[in-house]
Symmetry: D2
Subunit: 465 residues, 4 copies
């Protein structure tokens, strides 16, 4: 299995006794993310990039069934042969599939049947992993890949659910009204009772103005220098990585500096109020066309009241814009225009990775999916200005690097070869993970990628110079 | 209220004591139509012309709330102010509304809340109608209009549900497998248990070939003559009618003849097999462009197996084409091309109405919504060849008449003036009702109308010459 | 030849000695219309409905070559075999052809070669018609049809040339600056010298305000009554007609009244200034959507200066709106909305034809193509209020009648059967001819037809009630 | 003027006495390229990427007028104020302009007037340059930029003219039939007489099969190695460069190898015949979607006869595919898929530049615009296999590098800042110039850029590994 060149299993002496546990925990997480939803919420597709949650739940299950159970579980019977057509995402080598644009028209199988499908597959997975030592290395590597695949869909679930609920004129909340938010790890499978649901925008629960609190910290980023030199780029540790993080190779970097924190809503609001969305000279040409065509005037989910107050749709519904929080849901074009306006630039992915290694940053303690916040959080008052904060979690950081193959990379053959390689043009790399990324999913060499116009993900930026 | 010029209430001495009963029966019918559906089925919108069933259920309720309860029920409080934005269909005079193309992206309010909305409004309607003698004439006329409005949406529910289920690769059935079909009047509000549901297309329950039965009757239509002369057209009886059926006016008709029955699937199949969809000279120019652009080769819901057998998606899922049944789900273009091929033509609406009066045809005994069949039925063997059959029910009959105003018609002012008048261009008239039309909704002067390319309704044809 | 049931030639004893002369006069007229154009003007296609003038010149020539010379001229050699592909318009029976949307991308053959093509074909036509008595009746009927076909394209040349020049920011004039306009019959084949050309819009020759003259007549239309009864409709005289004018049939009309003149720019301006384009209740639904989508605020070719003055692009470039002239370049939707606003309606085509016969109106003296004005003209002061004016020429009058087949009509077989019949749905009939119609082309039974949204033709209206 | 950091004029002691001569030579070249065209050819726009030749001729003139004459020529009067609106290409800072998609609808000003415009501006340029020593440095730099700008449009003229003529079903030739082609430098301003023009495709001058000559060399490319190390990238010599070639910076390259010649038509045909356009696994995902959507089966301008022979539209019309010539008119997707199939890859732009410097390649002797061939030429038999051929001229070589800013680059302010910087996303770099590039325009650091789907330019590839 060429995809998983450095897997956990080739490098450790301890047998992976906990593999079944890890797998079922990940599987449960996907369901927990959908717990606040009604069946109707899991079906719709308000934009082409967004997939219905029901589809995510079924597709991740089909992935296990197709790539693990069918080849490795003796006598496994598929739950429903029709599901291969319904829930294949983009694997040309695995036959025809439902047109992506039509995912939101499929009411059947209903959510309940998809949950039965999950239970069926989970039971067989548990049985198969009961004796992992009997599995060939290729199967173990496949399991590792499947875990990461499902974690990627968990992030998509978080972003797609937000988009689906946001387009509803009732602006329903995903999380409850409690100050700290629901801990997603505490969520059971019981449907939220509707009487507890918050009322939304059209119900005009206008937020109180005093929630617009100021945050002195957000106005004082510092610049941290990184020396020039030759740096290694790519996955150098043990443990899983995707094929796109390899081979490790060296790059020559000139000296550069990064800001010690992410750009905040307060920062970005200054750009908006300085006419940022009306000044073509700040924008890349294709970005400017998009701004005009779509009449963008602010990041996704921001809206201004007739009285001029800025609100933002988030996990608790429409709330006043939190100024100290990192700016989020920005396209690359917006991130780049902001950097132009700020007389700075975006880092390259090599700079980002070199800096993260140089500063010794790790994911530990970051604001990830498991925190159940589903939104970036402000840097605490008193954070050390000499340290580099928020490199992991909160928001994906746009880089000024194309999502291209590393030198020496070759696409794998077969269906899994379509996993990464075929996307390697016309997209840009993002680094560091977000508040919707599972913590165990991210690492310093991890490369996320999106087209420059996308902004429904948890995407923001950090300035470089 | 100018819309309801000849209402039941101005012409009868008996007070409408049963009005509340009639109304609640109609209201219940809408819910019964949705009983076989899962919540997920009620949300999606696989084509622009199709509305989600949940939307129909809410929109008809909004109609009663807006036009009857708010003006006439003292102290009535709207169930939810946001619903006016969500469930207005096309009344410009009543403010902005959800874009029609986005109806299928709204997961909230969920189906259960829409049922609560219906119950809330029904309770107030019942209270208001408890003493109908206290209501002004305008309110009574409004109730009559609202009943017919809801019946129109019942027909749309039947057609939209079919379309929604048909686009699903699982091809789920709407009705059970019993020979006679479920009687919809027997349906309660309990959800159908999923374990009883029929398996669909992808589950490959291929029908047995012996179900392709022949029907000798279908090959022998007869021509019935109608003498020329001056005929009145329009609603001449007491009782409700829409404004588009008035004023009554006279037309001069040359002698003509109609076939005594509808065109059948056997008839239409002969056209298909004679290359009907490949011969441009049979088609109107815009129809031919459509056939090529959409790659039409047969009516909607027909499909041919690799072995050459013709199947058709209907209320019981995919079944062999029933040759003796009337052809259905035809666009005007297809109906017109068939008539060209058959060296005949479509009747005008004046001819249809004159013939129906001349032959003394009435809706009684027709195949309507209440029969719970949801499909046209074959003419029974032994039907009298000297009589004109199937004029009412089974399928709407395309006419070669534009949906234009009758001489002397003027659009009403206000919101209800948008009901009919603003559609009076670029559509064609259909007559006679279908198997999805409530029997009490149809009459000899009733004018239905659709664009020439539409075929998701229960639409067929009868030849004239 | 079933198309030409009542031709001049079957009904008259005198041999058509002047046929060659008539034909060459019509052929010359087409070239004369293009004389003011530069080669570049004859190539472009700024809208799908508009064809390049070079294409019209070649297509009409191809028509003669294909339908007359090839079948009837012994040993005729086609000028260039490639032209059948290039210059077929819409005859499916004659093979594939250049996509209509691509007509404006064909630079070759150049204009000069198209003129050579015309000369080649004209020479053979002259030779063939030298002894018309040797021609079979079918050929003579074909010649008659070809003459009318070329005259139809002359009207299209006039409308398409206007559109092509109007979309140019330089707003070039088609005619010179002389008060009366160039007489097109005086135009030779010499190109207009560029130094004489008028300067256009971007050259800011703003017209003097005093040219906004008032016209007292335009504010006083009178209503003329027509009694009810049974009227014949269709071509009843000798001479040529198109198949769509037959069969003659009878219609029953209720008494009605027509205005004695066309709606003027002054009339229509009152509608515009009364908010006509902002009031949805005046519009048919599809018309209102179009008004919003295209942001229409006035008829085609009108524009308002920042100072509020209304200008109009016409044959002399941009000039102040001539208030007394008939309103022109209106879509059916605009004509209908105006009539709603004026509390009147459009006539049906049967009413128009019955009225024209009743009032004894004839084309003689009308403002047609031969006048070289290329714009409707005001009704002269002192016109008799008891007479019905402007029924022929000036502008085509929209009727509220679909372009459908008359009772008993059947489409002809073969290529010429595609001439009229295949367009008989979704269009509306216009009557009376315009300032771009050759006078010999029009008659009381003539049926023109366009879709309701078209307005680049010379189209206006007359009110009925 | 920050754009032209290292201009010829700051670095040389000799006064630029020949500047006027150079400029007028370049100006004349543009006109010479259009000499074989008819006026009609200069107007049309068969694809959005293609501009009408008349537009190129006027736009380059407007550039001189706007950026040089208006600021620096005392009392200069613009030729026509309307032209600023008509012939601005994409400079937002200079106001509104004709929509790019509408360039092909503008018949006026006619070609003759554009030539007058050129003559007017050329006369003033000559006068201004008569005493270049009186001009400020900024003006001199502007002249240098203007020369290169016009040369870029000369390449576009060559590619757009080919596309325009190719879409015509007559397939007219651009050059005459003489074996060596017309030398463009010999072309005068006299229009080609039409009687000499070659007949095209629809005239079925099928080429003789014996012109399909084999070329033994094309099957034996060799691999030439380049050692790893730190290489400088960017413009390091004196003389003009664009801002996107700066700053010079260092990159670290691993050892790599390039093929000693371009991929030929014979090479590429083997890919085609091996099912290259049917095998999704060879393609980037977006490329595969494009191949299917546009039904690509071969490079642009290739077509296969029913008998299986491959023809290609080129400067002499449709001719048999020249197997030994470099493959041309390939999109990036096709170049990348070919490389995948050949188990190699495309070079990066840094590799290309490093290799060119390492091999000491220069433009001298390359196949450029001045050769008048307008097509890549085969590598001569006997070419040294140890040398790297065809690096300059023939075809632009796709690299696997994004068109991004070099480290330290900043966009210039003002209109000229829109020249390069705003395009720096979603495009790929091409290197080396083509047979349509003026020889004096190219250099080793030159960066051309196009989107991955474009193939109407002279684009090909060289393999790396």
């Amino acid at each position: 299995m060429t995809l998983l060149i450095k897997s956990a299993f080739s490098a450790t002496a301890t047998p992976p006794t906990s593999l079944a546990t890890r797998l079922l925990a990940v599987r449960t997480q996907s369901v927990a993310l959908c717990a606040p939803l009604l069946p109707e919420d899991t079906v719709v597709q308000p934009a082409l990039d967004v997939s219905p949650p029901k589809w995510h739940l079924a597709h991740t299950t089909w992935f296990w069934e197709t790539f693990l159970l069918l080849p490795y579980a003796a006598d496994y019977q598929v739950f429903d042969p029709a599901f291969a057509f319904l829930f294949n995402s983009y694997y040309n080598s695995l036959g025809s599939r439902v047109n992506r644009a039509d995912r939101g028209t499929l009411s059947r199988p209903p959510l309940a049947e998809v949950y039965r499908y999950r239970a069926h597959v989970d039971a067989h997975l548990a049985a198969l992993l009961d004796r992992p030592e009997a599995l060939p290395a290729a199967a173990l590597e496949l399991i590792e890949l499947g875990l990461h695949h499902e974690q990627q869909h968990q992030e998509l679930l978080a972003t797609d659910i937000r988009y689906i609920l946001s387009t509803n004129p009732l602006a329903p909340a995903y999380l409850g009204f409690e100050d700290e938010g629901l801990e997603i790890r505490d969520l059971g499978f019981e449907q939220l009772s509707r009487k507890d649901a918050p009322t939304g925008f059209l119900h005009s629960n206008s937020p109180s103005p005093d929630s617009l609190i100021s945050n002195p910290l957000s106005s004082n980023p510092t610049w941290l220098s990184v020396p020039g030199g030759i740096y290694p780029v790519g996955h150098q540790a043990n443990g899983f990585c995707f094929d796109n993080e390899l081979p490790v190779h060296e790059v020559l970097l000139a000296p550069f500096a990064l800001q010690n924190r992410l750009v905040t809503n307060a920062d970005y609001l200054a750009f908006v109020e300085d006419g940022g969305y009306q000044r073509f000279e700040l924008w890349l040409g294709e970005g400017w066309e998009l701004v005009q065509r779509e009449a963008w005037t602010a990041p996704l989910y921001w809206q201004q009241t007739p009285g001029g107050q800025w609100l933002r749709y988030g996990p608790h519904g429409l709330r006043p814009l939190e100024l100290a929080a990192p700016a989020c849901h920005l396209s690359f074009y917006e991130a780049d225009a902001y950097a132009q306006w700020a007389r700075a630039r975006l880092p390259t992915e090599a700079e980002w990775e070199a800096a993260a290694r140089y500063f010794g940053a790790t994911p530990a303690g970051g604001n990830f999916l498991e925190a159940g916040r589903f939104d970036p959080r402000p840097l605490p008052a008193g954070a050390d200005p000499a340290r580099c904060h928020q490199l992991f979690g909160d928001v994906w950081e746009w880089t000024y690097s194309p999502y291209h193959a590393y030198p020496g990379y070759r696409r794998a053959a077969g269906a899994l070869g379509e996993y990464n390689g075929k996307f390697m043009v016309n997209q840009l790399v993002l680094r560091g993970g977000s508040c919707a990324t599972p913590e165990s999913h991210i690492r310093v060499s991890y490369r996320n990628f999106f087209h420059a116009d996308k902004r429904w993900q948890f995407t923001g930026l950090r300035l470089a110079k």
